[in-house]
């Protein structure tokens, strides 16, 4: 009979725990990252008797969280993939709206300028046609400057976002380190039982971290997780978190780089997440696009200037340059030890690629040149540049040469009067009605002068727009694919770990009934006990 009461009490206690767990599940039905918990029941140790073994009731053997390691990892990876593609697409769309706009983009300004050139070619002695051409030239150069400055502010925005991301990543790293500590001590303290809610919180922090940057994890024996970033740099080791920092590029102080607190620059190793998307966007879209826009500006300016120089203006004087173009940008690395300085100029338009180049001095007055990105050794003449290294540079001193990066920002019309447009040919009898040079100017647009003399400026601008559109499109398609994958892995994880309220309601009924039954058993045991007391009490 004491057995009976014991069993009833064990059931009451166990079902109380089961009901508590069910209420916990119901309470957390909408908590992000919560894994539903199950109470596992087992029989208590049986009593031996002469007749055999008599059961002694029920006990809670474990409270487990329903958890699928694979689905969780899949979800993390898809989350970081989606965040990367989404960030990339959002940022690239901004560039697209700047460069490709039908009325304010490069294409429209170029088209209007060359129409004005045509008008001068049709009526070369008309001052009004010349004035229009001059002001369309101004409009074109200001379009280029404006586009570059808008791309510049997107660059600023990227820096601001990098800063925000780094702060957030550090927050997550710190939190994971703290949770690692808590989990390790809880696991030790509870004799191996899992601190379910802490584990969920850590998974959730990892998910948040993956949204920012892709990380890899390795589980330790004490339940803590080590987190690695980039190509294996440790971010969290057990209870210690490393801080990410934002440093300046050694060539360009306006360009932010990601560094670890131990000093290493890891910008190029970071993948995935919104941080990976931002860095990829800067590397694959923003920098090349600024260079390409600069290349188009350079092409228009240098071709116009060359033809101007060939011709004579309205007064019969040799033509002056139409546009003024800033010199090739050269930046010395802040690590340089020598006093070397580099000057670079464009030798041939056809050789320019829109890439940047890194010059590394050999210490003996010579140097080698590497394309950026790609790091392929190139010959200056092959990429349309003339480079001189002056002063005395130490071996390993490096310089960044950006042939077209600053062109769009500094493009200006240098002619001041409409009469200065050199519409007339430079040789032969002069007349104000001579349009032969203006005809050559009008033909610039469709002349194949770019990329080894294979692509015209008009086609170049068009390629720019369609390249940009394609990269936005592919990021959007990538995002869509990642979204589908994410919803699949989310569904898989939820099917294991998610709380179903109907299920919990059913469990609630089940455990309630069991509890009531156990209470009934206790009451019956009491009745029997009373009967016995009464029997003897008389």
């Amino acid at each position: 009979m004491s057995d009976m009461m014991g069993s009833a009490l064990s059931a009451l206690v166990s079902y109380q725990r089961a009901l508590a767990t069910t209420s916990h599940n119901i309470a957390n039905a909408n908590t992000d990252g919560y894994s539903r918990q199950r109470v596992e029941l087992g029989t208590r140790v049986a009593n031996q008797s002469g007749a055999g073994v008599i059961g002694s009731g029920v006990q809670v053997t474990a409270i487990r969280r329903s958890y699928d390691q694979f689905a969780t990892e899949q979800m993390r990876s898809n989350t970081s993939g989606l965040a990367r593609e989404q960030t990339f697409a959002t940022m690239a769309t901004q560039v697209e709206s700047v460069v490709s706009d039908q009325t304010t983009g490069v294409n429209a300004a170029l088209s209007r300028f060359f129409n004005a050139v045509q008008d001068v070619a049709t009526d070369p002695s008309s001052l009004s046609a010349r004035r229009v051409m001059l002001s369309e030239g101004e409009a074109l150069s200001s379009r280029f400057r404006d586009i570059d400055s808008q791309l510049g502010s997107i660059d600023q925005d990227v820096n601001a976002r990098l800063r925000a991301s780094v702060t957030e990543i550090n927050g997550y790293a710190q939190r994971i380190a703290e949770l690692n500590q808590a989990i390790a001590s809880a696991t030790g303290g509870m004799g191996g039982a899992m601190p379910n809610d802490l584990m969920d919180a850590r998974d959730q922090a990892l998910l948040g971290l993956n949204q920012l940057v892709k990380v890899t994890t390795v589980e330790q024996g004490d339940g803590s997780l080590n987190v690695f970033i980039g190509s294996g740099q440790s971010l969290v080791l057990s209870g210690n978190a490393q801080q990410l920092q934002l440093g300046n590029n050694n060539f360009d102080p306006t360009r932010a780089e990601i560094t670890l607190s131990d000093g290493g620059v890891i910008t190029d190793f970071i993948e995935g997440g919104s941080l990976g998307g931002l860095l990829a966007f800067r590397q694959e879209v923003l920098t090349p696009m600024r260079n390409q826009v600069g290349l188009m500006a350079y092409a228009v300016a240098s071709e116009m200037n060359a033809i101007q120089a060939d011709g004579r203006d309205l007064s019969g004087n040799a033509g002056l340059p139409f546009f003024s173009v800033p010199p090739v940008a050269v930046q010395a690395s802040s690590f340089n030890g020598g006093t070397g300085s580099v000057t670079a100029s464009v030798a041939s338009l056809a050789g320019l690629t829109g890439d940047n180049y890194r010059l590394v001095a050999d210490g003996a007055g010579g140097f080698s040149l590497y394309s950026q990105p790609g790091d392929v050794a190139v010959n200056p003449a092959d990429v349309g540049l003339t480079i001189t290294l002056g002063g005395s540079a130490n071996a390993g001193d490096s310089f960044l040469i950006r042939p077209t990066a600053d062109v769009a920002a500094g493009l200006r019309v240098s002619l001041s009067a409409p009469g200065q447009i050199a519409a007339a040919a430079g040789t032969g009898a002069f007349g104000v009605g001579d349009n032969s040079n203006a005809l050559r100017m009008a033909a610039i647009e469709d002349k194949a002068v770019l990329f080894g003399g294979k692509v015209s400026i008009a086609d170049g601008v068009q390629n720019l727009v369609s390249e940009l559109a394609t990269s936005v499109r592919s990021a959007e398609i990538g995002a869509q694919a990642q979204r589908t994958l994410l919803s699949q892995s989310q569904a898989r994880k939820e099917s294991v770990s998610g709380v179903n309220l109907d299920e919990e309601a059913a469990n609630l009924m089940k455990y309630q009934q069991a509890y009531q039954a156990a209470a009934q058993v206790a009451s019956t045991a009491n009745d029997i006990f009373q009967t016995m007391i009464n029997a003897f009490g008389r």
Binding site: E494, S495, S497
Partner: protein, 360 residues
């Protein structure tokens, strides 16, 4: 598969939001009239549309070029018509003067009229368009192609500094600096180096009227009023002056000896008039030739304009297919999407209202 409550909620909400996004996009297409809202919606079509935009824009520009050159060619055509009429009148007067019944006096009157006509011809040669540009100026459209020296109208020459002097066309076709001889006739001024001077009215602009088509703008005086015919080079204005000069000289009977200074025998006049008539005929022929070539160019411009109109229409419609929205289709699509959205909303509210807890 087991499904969690939050997953169920998320799924129904997600599909609801998705329907909304799709419907909003269609609405935006309808509102803007564009099926491509940004290039990345369809990079290939966007690149193609850009190409078409440019081509259409170019066609508009060529259209403007056509109008401009057409205007000038029409003016030149009318100037040439005027010139031909003048020459014909001169020819009639020459025939009339070449008649034994005319006296020195009547010939003088005819000569005076011819000189008037030469003056009118000078006006035509120095005619300006609406912008003050000389029609026959060639590249030097800011300078009159002809200038006067004494009673003669002579083609202008200029040196490298822009110094203008009259020139005279020699029989070998060279245009050299002119001076007047004691008889008041233009001859080469040998004091000046002919190599330093170039004709003012030379050079002919080519105007782009299509991607590969060009049309020559108005002809310069050098190729209109000066030409080589009958084995020597001639200047039409000089031809007219020559007729007047011949008629001005008093006529004496054939065989008068000595010939009074400044007079001519009747036979000399007859020969001169016969020569003049042949010359005037070739002069008329020259202006007609130029007029024909101008007419041919005007025809070419008409053809070019037709081609432009046609290709512009075609390009516009191709472009429209690429980037413009098909309203009927989009409106039907929006309707369907809104129905879908409504259904999703109803399902959401029904499904989310169901719970086992309601039955406890």
């Amino acid at each position: 598969m087991r499904i969690s409550s939050s997953q169920w909620f998320r799924q129904s909400l997600g599909s609801l939001l998705e329907q909304q996004t799709v419907a909003a996009r269609t609405q935006q297409q309808l509102a803007s009239g564009k099926s491509l809202l940004k290039p990345s919606d369809d990079p290939v079509a966007a690149a193609r549309a850009l190409d078409l935009d440019r081509a259409i824009d170019k066609l508009d520009q060529y259209g403007r070029n056509v109008s401009h050159v057409e205007n000038r060619l029409r003016l030149q055509e009318s100037a040439l018509d005027g010139g031909i009429d003048l020459l014909q009148r001169v020819r009639e007067l020459a025939v009339q003067a070449n008649n034994g019944t005319q006296s020195d006096e009547t010939r003088g009157a005819i000569a005076a009229e011819i000189e008037q006509l030469r003056e009118a011809m000078l006006q035509q040669a120095n005619r300006q368009d609406g912008n003050g540009h000389y029609l026959f100026g060639g590249y030097s459209e800011d300078q009159a192609p002809y200038m006067t020296l004494g009673r003669h109208a002579l083609p202008a020459l200029q040196d490298a500094t822009g110094n203008r002097i009259p020139g005279v066309l020699l029989a070998d076709g060279s245009l050299v600096p002119a001076m007047l001889d004691p008889d008041g006739l233009p001859v080469q001024d040998t004091a000046l180096n002919a190599a330093d001077y170039a004709p003012v009215a030379s050079g002919q602009r080519q105007i782009s009227v299509g991607a590969t088509a060009t049309v020559a703008d108005s002809d310069p005086a050098l190729t209109v009023f000066q030409y080589s015919g009958g084995g020597s080079s001639r200047d039409i204005l000089a031809s007219i002056q020559l007729v007047a000069d011949s008629l001005r000289k008093p006529v004496v009977a054939n065989g008068t000896i000595p010939l009074p200074v400044g007079s001519q025998e009747a036979a000399t006049l007859a020969t001169a008039m016969a020569d003049a008539l042949t010359r005037l005929d070739t002069d008329i022929g020259q202006l007609s030739d130029v007029r024909t070539s101008v007419g041919a160019r005007l025809n070419q411009l008409d053809v070019q304009r037709d081609i432009q109109a046609e290709s512009s229409l075609q390009l516009q419609s191709t472009r429209s297919d690429l980037v413009d929205v098909d309203y009927a289709e989009a409106a039907a699509r929006l309707n369907q999407q809104l129905t879908g959205l409504q259904a999703a909303q109803q399902v959401f509210s029904k499904v989310q209202g169901m719970s086992l807890f309601d039955f406890m």
